[in-house]
């Protein structure tokens, strides 16, 4: 099997090999079916590149995970403050109104400070009744010195997150990594695939050659 690398983007097959391939292509009827030698349309190539970028971007674990307990830690601290407690226990208004006012106080206070959890709090809003349920568990974990980012809020429970983020020293952190070797493997895999397909199609006669189907049909 001969190869030529003088113009690899044009053809990897020698002129003789291309001539043989063209003769077979034009001279043979495969059950009455013919094939053209068109390239993939350029917009479609653009779409495929976009697909690869989208595939990586969309699969990063940024969205849609269960909320971790750390994002509600400040909520719990503020809920236990005197000002919010007073609002929560205001019996002159209904339970829901008291909740809404107390929650507004908490959110106004949180808006005054920068937080690494701002985005996640928008993703996972919480109301005061839910906060009441999970607050004692968050306080317990905090007292025990736990890293709240390693705990997920699942309904009314706070549980150790189901992540196994293996560290170089062998310890495991139960946090979702934003990047892991799965993405690295997929990149090598994809580029390996592209290389293999390019080699395969460059062994065919160049796409500028149009087969004459009148010979065999």
């Amino acid at each position: 099997m001969g190869w030529t690398f003088t113009n690899p983007l044009f053809s990897l097959a020698t002129a003789d090999q291309n001539k043989v391939a063209q003769d077979i292509w034009e001279g043979e009827s495969l059950g009455g079916i013919a094939e053209n030698n068109n390239p993939l349309p350029r917009p479609i190539i653009g779409l495929l590149v976009l697909t690869f970028i989208t595939a990586n971007a969309l699969t990063f674990p940024l969205y849609g995970q269960r909320p971790n307990a750390a994002i509600y830690h400040d909520y719990v601290s503020l809920m236990n403050s005197g000002m919010v407690q007073e609002q929560m226990n205001d019996h002159s208004i209904s339970h829901n109104q008291a909740n809404e006012k107390a929650m507004a106080l908490i959110e106004n206070s949180l808006a005054q400070f920068d937080s690494p959890y701002t985005f996640q709090r928008i993703q996972h809003p919480i109301d005061l009744d839910q906060l009441r349920i999970i607050a004692p568990q968050i306080v317990e974990l905090q007292k025990a010195g736990a890293d709240l980012e390693q705990y997920s809020v699942i309904g009314d429970k706070i549980l150790k997150a189901n992540f196994f983020n293996l560290q170089p020293d062998g310890t495991i952190i139960a946090k979702q990594p934003w990047w892991d070797k799965g993405y690295m493997i997929s990149m090598f895999y994809f580029f390996g695939f592209c290389l293999a397909v390019i080699v395969t199609v460059k062994r065919l006669p160049h796409w500028s050659w149009r087969p004459d189907h009148s010979i065999a049909h």
Binding site: I24, E28, L30, A55, P61, G64, Q65, F164, V201
Partner: protein, 468 residues
């Protein structure tokens, strides 16, 4: 069929195996969709028919799934391969006798397998539900002889080149045997836990990705150029499609288990590969639709093209949906909901069924040398299938999104059941339309065999479809 079982190879008419597989596939399609309609009725009308152990939903679901996959889809594939593979190699089928025995033992095996599932003897793993003796029977009595016939026909071809369709046929059969034997390891070796879960979904994903999707696509690579008379748009795009199916479809099994404690890197890798399934999909759809250039009137006029192109068009939402449903961003919300059921039906009842129906319509006319008894009934079947499928797909998509919301917001289960009720009725209606359409189809094909006008030698069925 029986008279050919012990006949000499040269005394068996060419195409016999294809005809028997084709008729069997239509019968199994009726059985499979009938069971599906019955199951849907149990969901739509909870008081409908209960009290019988064998007819409980848990049993019937498995029987429906396997009647459709191994009965309708796989036998329609076998029928297609039995006539397309030799046609593309300008030769005859390697062994009609083997094909006929294969068809008989396939039907016997499937009856046995479904009877065991019906009686509750099952591995309990979705899609690989059979117990190990049945797995071995399927692999070595049903699939290996079928594969052998395909491979040997290709090896004995009278052409130097191998057309795209035959690459897919040969490779898919090879991959199916591997998928079947490795994917059933939990049953053979009593694997448990994550190994069992991963292998189960590796099997389920790859039966679809390495058998059903590529073979359905391969059929359309044959039907569209053959019936329209246009050359395939691009041989080189066929290469891109073939290799990207092998590479990107074989790896994303872990995306079925995104919430499981599988290693995160495996899930990340699988998820990227899952989106990259769009690569073969885009290449394939582009190749077929561009082959239709100048022949789009056939999409309206010709029954085989109508079925085929509808299937190809359904491949677009199928792959867009599947590619993104499995990402973490969406999977957390929709996992385990009816939208996944809708997606599975989009793949099996949408894309692949339309392609297979085209192949069976075309194949029976070519092999019997008779034109369709009734083009009107074929069109009626097409619309029953399309409308019935669409009702099913849309209603289950909506139902799935309701379930997803209810799951996240922890809505009480009984409230979800009530909210789902109208969609379950529409689901039953759609499935029942498909079932009745298939009965009409069988009638039409039986009448074609008995009373269809002969197709003149040297003419295509499509050329004489509207002549009297």
């Amino acid at each position: 069929m029986l008279k050919h079982l012990f006949a000499k190879e040269e005394d068996i008419p060419q195409g016999s195996a294809g005809i028997f597989f084709a008729i069997s596939s239509i019968c199994w399609f009726i059985i499979g969709t009938g069971l599906g309609s019955f199951n849907a009725a149990k969901l739509g009308f909870p008081d409908f028919f209960h009290g019988s152990y064998a007819l409980q939903f848990g049993h019937m679901r498995q029987v429906h799934v396997h009647a459709v996959i191994f009965g309708w889809i796989a036998m329609a594939f076998a029928a297609s391969m039995m006539y397309i593979t030799p046609a593309l190699g300008n030769t005859k089928l390697w062994s009609e006798k083997l094909g006929i025995w294969n068809c008989l033992l396939y039907n016997v095996g499937l009856c046995l397998a479904l009877a065991l599932l019906w009686s509750g003897i099952t591995s309990g793993r979705e899609y690989s539900d059979h117990i190990w003796p049945i797995d071995l029977y399927i692999a070595f009595v049903m699939v290996v002889p079928w594969s052998l016939n395909v491979w040997m026909t290709i090896l004995n071809r009278r052409t130097q080149g191998i057309y795209t369709t035959n690459w897919f046929f040969a490779a898919s059969m090879f991959m199916l045997i591997i998928v079947f034997l490795i994917g059933n390891m939990p049953e053979f070796l009593h694997l448990t836990g994550l190994n069992e879960a991963y292998m189960t979904w590796w099997f389920a994903h790859n039966v679809l990705g390495l058998l059903i999707t590529p073979v359905a696509a391969a059929i359309t690579y044959y039907i569209v150029p053959k019936v329209t008379g246009n050359p395939l748009y691009s041989h080189r795009v066929g290469h891109l499609h073939f290799w990207s199916i092998v590479v990107f479809y074989s790896t994303p099994a872990a995306h079925h288990l995104m919430s499981s404690p599988l290693p995160e890197w495996l899930k990340s890798f699988a998820s990227v590969e899952g989106v990259l399934i769009l690569v073969p999909a885009v290449a394939y759809v582009c190749n077929i639709l561009l082959t239709m250039q100048g022949r789009w009137t056939m999409f309206v006029e010709n029954i085989e093209i109508k079925f085929t192109i509808t299937g190809v068009l359904l491949a677009i939402p199928l792959n867009m949906q599947g590619g993104f449903q499995q990402t973490r961003a969406i999977n957390w919300y929709i996992h385990g909901t009816g939208w996944i059921v809708a997606h599975a039906h989009l793949a099996l009842l949408g894309f692949s069924t339309f392609a297979e129906a085209a192949a069976v319509y075309y194949g029976l006319q070519v092999l019997l040398r008779r034109k369709l008894w009734s083009a009107s009934l074929a069109n009626f079947h097409f619309w029953m299938l399309l409308i019935g499928f669409s009702l099913y797909w849309i209603s289950m998509t909506i139902a799935g999104l309701i379930q997803g919301a209810a799951k996240i917001y922890e809505v009480p289960y009984v409230d979800v059941v009530i909210a789902e009720h109208p969609y379950m009725i529409v689901r039953w209606l759609g499935g029942t339309m498909v079932f009745f359409g298939n009965i009409i189809w069988l009638f039409n094909m039986v009448m074609t065999a008995r009373a269809g006008d002969p197709v003149p030698v040297g003419r295509q069925p499509a050329e004489v479809a509207y002549t009297r």
